[in-house]
Amino acid sequence: MKLSVAFLRSAIAAMAASAVVGIVSAQLPAKDPIPTNSVYQLDVLLENENGDSIELDLFYGNPVLVTMFYTSCPHVCPLLINTIKVMEAKLSAEERARLRVLAISVDPERDTPEALKKTMQLHAVDRDRWTMVRSKPADLRTIAGMFGVRYKKLPDGEFNHSSKIILLDGKGISIAETSKLGKSDPAFLAAIQTALE
């Protein structure tokens, strides 16, 4: 289901990019089937900091750190981003080059692409490897449910949410997570390094 839709989308994109329509589909690299316990089973479109429509599995093939946050969050969210940066700093340049970071907003109504981009600039994250995204509001509980993230919107428009960082392997299987913020969690860092080998 998921594969065929993704395949179709890539095929259409490839067809649009190519004048030689007849041979295009044969040239597309075939993806392995997605494991049943992979979060990439979820067929959902997200919007990134550039306003582009992307799929959840855009980093397929690379280990990914995933977190859920919102840009106007005063305390925990900057700490989440900093924690990821602290752990990245402990990796070698080669390791770091393979790692990707996906930060998903729990506040899609306010976290416009502009707000997401501003946050990325503010925290000076590597925009080649990081992306910040929002979902359609109707998809948010499903995405959060898949990552085991609990959240609640408060009457003043703020959010409380689980503050955790999840490590996905190249196929989108969750292999480790941490809720230790502000410093590097040694066991989690080791899991990242193993995944990057």
Partner: protein, 262 residues
């Protein structure tokens, strides 16, 4: 070809039994303000529920069978593990057959939140929110809010103490409540859309607040109306779940907003 024929035949057979039963209508619920067990913020627990539509009874096995026939990706052999644990629909005789342990008029159980959510979307609906469910479940047969009735509280709690034993009865075996809704209590637990937001604190935004609450349980809850024990038990149960979990006493029903869903 034979398989396709079998599917069509099954569909006809079970559709027949569905039409024979009452249709699980969405009925209009007139909303209002009410005291929730879940605080709205640190200073008050007065929740406001807008008018909405709710299915009269929990979704049955027959209804869910129709769903998996036209959405085969939700059949138990096909639903990916990330969306449903390995007990998903395990009481059914087969992927598209009910059998003796899952009668057509019994509420469907052993469904994950993801499956329930997909079902409701296919009905152009959604799962009810916690506040919507709690609002409707506060009613007994005569009054919209019967939570101050000791007798009624005792009746519900006696059910909670027996839940887990014996086969489930059919839906609508007991009288409807004030809202004309059946089985709000006494049959199954029910998924709500925002079950992952239930025990997230209303006032602590510091690091670890939300996560600690996930595990500290009732001791950390700033919940109101502590005498409303029956409903608190439901909150505690729902809060302990992950969206892919299924249990033999956990079903669902769908809701619709007054405005069309997105």
């Amino acid at each position: 070809m034979n398989k396709a024929m079998a599917v069509i035949l099954l569909h006809v057979l079970f559709s027949g039994s569905v039409f024979a039963a009452e249709v699980n209508q969405f009925i209009r619920i007139e909303g209002g303000d009410f005291r929730s067990v879940i605080p709205v913020d640190e200073s008050n627990n007065l929740a406001t529920v807008s008018d909405f539509y709710l299915q009269q009874s929990p979704v049955t096995n027959a209804e869910f069978l129709r769903f998996v026939l036209y959405r085969p990706e939700w059949q138990r052999e096909r639903a990916p593990g990330i969306f449903a644990d390995d007990q998903y629909l395990s009481a059914w005789a087969g992927p598209i057959s009910l059998g003796q342990d899952a009668l057509p008029d019994q509420p469907v159980t052993r469904v994950s939140w993801f499956a329930a959510n997909a079902y409701c979307k296919s009905e152009n609906g959604r799962l009810p929110t916690w506040y919507e469910w709690e609002f409707v479940a506060a009613a007994n047969e005569k009054r919209s809010d019967a939570r101050d009735s000791d007798a009624w509280q005792r009746q519900i709690i006696s059910w909670y103490s027996t839940v887990g034993g014996g086969p489930l009865s059919s839906v609508r075996a007991r009288p409807a409540n004030y809202h004309n809704v059946y089985d709000a209590h006494g049959l199954v637990w029910e998924w709500v859309d925002d079950f992952t937001g239930l025990l997230v604190s209303g006032d602590n935004r510091e690091q670890g607040g939300a996560d600690q609450l996930q595990f500290c349980g009732a001791g950390a809850i700033t919940m109101e109306e502590k005498e409303n024990y029956a409903v608190l038990m439901r909150v505690a149960m729902l809060s302990s779940l992950e969206a892919r979990f299924t249990t033999r006493n956990l079903g669902f029903r769908c809701a619709r907003s007054m405005e069309p869903n997105q």
